[in-house]
């Protein structure tokens, strides 16, 4: 039972992390190859505060705040660059983050931070907390999707110049996406730090950034339910099947290739097509 709780908690954290990237890349169309840096900022902030005696739930706020603050800075940089230039800029963020962390003794340097206190409410409590965080974030992103903010994001994701000519203040909406997305990653990081109870720079590198991007692409860029399904599957499978864990990058790579080649709109698009076909043959 304890193992299942760990798996479910990891799954919830992955879903939260993937949903947060989906706001930036899926909703607003801003490709980010450095999202793990914000997971790391949340994890380090929460871990340090937690070790100083601050209750886990209280650390959520500064974890989200720090991630969002750095996210805003990256967001401001993103206003000047687009497409592949933005991808490279955000990739630089994750290398910058791990590079800085490795050299800071206060952050544990190369070794990282060990001995992060166990959550005061136990493993099941952490699972419930993670699920509540996912639920709260999910409700918020659904609100975005259904509101005029989602409507404006749709136009920015498709064509920024046209969005401007329709009177949309594109920079403000982009910054909003970065703020919400990086805050969500910070929250996921806080949960992650207390789930693993050890964090190091290697946990928040380029590979992790690509892994979460793979979850978003395989789920269907911009699709809330597709991304949840994809993040749940991709985070759980390696924990149940050792071979997938051993060849995780290979599996992710193949799935990414397969998604781009055969289902560019991901699981979401695939399921919609299947339902449409099933509906059509009735």
């Amino acid at each position: 039972m304890a193992y299942e709780i760990v798996v479910l908690t990891n799954m919830a954290i992955s879903i939260l992390f993937a949903l947060s990237l989906n706001v930036i890349t899926g909703f607003c169309g801003q490709v980010s190859l450095g999202h793990a840096a914000f997971l790391g900022i949340g994890a380090y902030t929460s871990a340090i505060l937690s070790k100083a005696g601050v209750p886990l739930v209280v650390t959520f706020i500064p974890a989200m705040g720090m991630a969002a603050l750095v996210g805003l800075v990256v967001g401001v940089a993103s206003l000047r660059v687009r497409h592949d230039f933005l991808a490279i800029t955000t990739m630089g963020v994750v290398f910058l983050f791990t590079g800085i962390v490795r050299k800071q003794d206060i952050l544990g340097g190369e070794i990282g931070i060990a001995g992060i206190p166990a959550p005061e409410f136990g493993r099941i409590g952490l699972l419930v907390t993670a699920l509540l965080c996912v639920l709260a974030y999910l409700l918020f992103v659904i609100r975005i999707r259904k509101s005029w903010a989602g409507f404006a994001f749709d136009s920015i994701a498709e064509d920024e110049d046209t969005a401007r000519l329709l009177g949309i203040h594109v920079p403000r909406f982009k910054l909003f996406a970065f703020l919400v997305g990086t805050a969500g990653a910070g929250l996921a990081g806080a949960l992650y730090a207390h789930q693993i109870r050890f964090i190091g720079p290697d946990s928040f590198g380029f590979v992790e950034s690509i892994s979460v991007l793979a979850m978003v692409i395989i789920g269907g860029i911009g699709s809330i339910w597709g991304v949840i399904l994809s993040a749940a599957l991709l985070s759980a499978l390696p924990q149940f099947f050792q071979i997938i864990d051993d060849f995780k990058l290979l599996v992710y790579g193949l799935l990414l290739f397969g998604a781009m080649r055969f289902a560019p709109d991901g699981i979401d698009g695939l399921l919609k097509r299947l339902f449409r076909r099933a509906g059509g043959t009735r």
């Binding site: 609100r143 005029w148 498709e158 046209t162 401007r164 329709l166 009177g167 909406f173």
Partner: protein
């Protein structure tokens, strides 16, 4: 005296070593349709982009109803009452024609993400969008995606979207380009019916017969300089215009 709807004063634009516009000026009154013509390379689109705030002039001033809008960016100008229908149609292809127009009705919601987040309903905007689409002759295809309709419809969508912004000044950049002769005629008729008290239209166009047919006033530009401005018949009678624009003998 009522100030002109649009007043462009002594605008110059430089692209590197090239002077794209040199001291150009024009005025558009209320409820007016101004045809804006000139040979290729005359700087017509550049002047449109200056009026929209997309290109910054090295000198000169753009006034809307007597207010200097030169310092405003393009989004601020749109909210101040200037709209542009682009030459190359750029519909949002993932949205229906209806939503393409409804989005433009967003007003202040499009300026603030928090305000946008607080509003879910699109019913009012869709209702207004349906009316405008019907006005431009797209009432029967409001729920279609842009990929499902021909270019002529997309040109009308571009006009509908610009109108949805509630402009006082509508700039249309070659709305007849790429249309067949009958389609161009219908589109020109549609444009001729747009001006009303509170709305003026500037039509940049290469299709001279249609411009001459529907525009009571003309502004002619050549090589980045204003050549003539006034009632259509008077302008077209000017030897300099015939020479520069039509290659006539002058």
């Amino acid at each position: 005296m009522t100030p002109a709807r649009l007043s462009v004063n002594d605008v110059s634009v430089r692209f590197g070593g090239l002077m794209a516009l040199e001291g150009v000026g024009l005025e558009v009154g209320d409820n007016q349709l101004l045809g804006f013509i000139g040979p290729n390379g005359a700087g017509k689109t550049t002047l449109m982009r200056v009026i929209m705030g997309i290109v910054q002039p090295v000198s000169g001033q753009v006034m809307l109803d007597g207010q200097d809008i030169s310092k405003l960016n393009s989004v601020q100008r749109i909210h101040a009452g200037v709209a542009l229908g682009q030459q190359i149609v750029k519909p949002l292809r993932a949205m229906s024609l209806l939503d393409n127009v409804a989005l433009a009705f967003g007003g202040s919601k499009l300026l603030s993400p928090l305000r946008a987040l607080s509003v879910r309903s699109r019913a009012t905007e869709r209702e207004a969008a349906r009316a405008i689409l019907s006005d431009v002759g797209l009432g029967a295809v409001t729920d279609k995606l842009p990929n499902e309709v021909p270019l002529g419809y997309l040109k009308r969508l571009e006009v509908a979207r610009a109108l949805a912004l509630g402009p006082r000044l509508l700039l249309l950049d070659e709305p007849l380009a790429g249309l067949s002769k009958p389609e161009a005629g219908e589109m020109a008729d549609l444009i001729a019916g747009l001006p009303r008290p509170g709305l003026s239209v500037v039509l940049i166009e290469h299709n001279l017969p249609q411009v001459l047919r529907v525009c009571p006033h003309l502004y002619v530009q050549a090589n980045g300089r204003g050549l003539a401005f006034g009632p259509t018949d008077d302008v077209m009678a000017m030897p300099a215009v015939r020479k520069a624009y039509l290659g006539g003998e002058g």
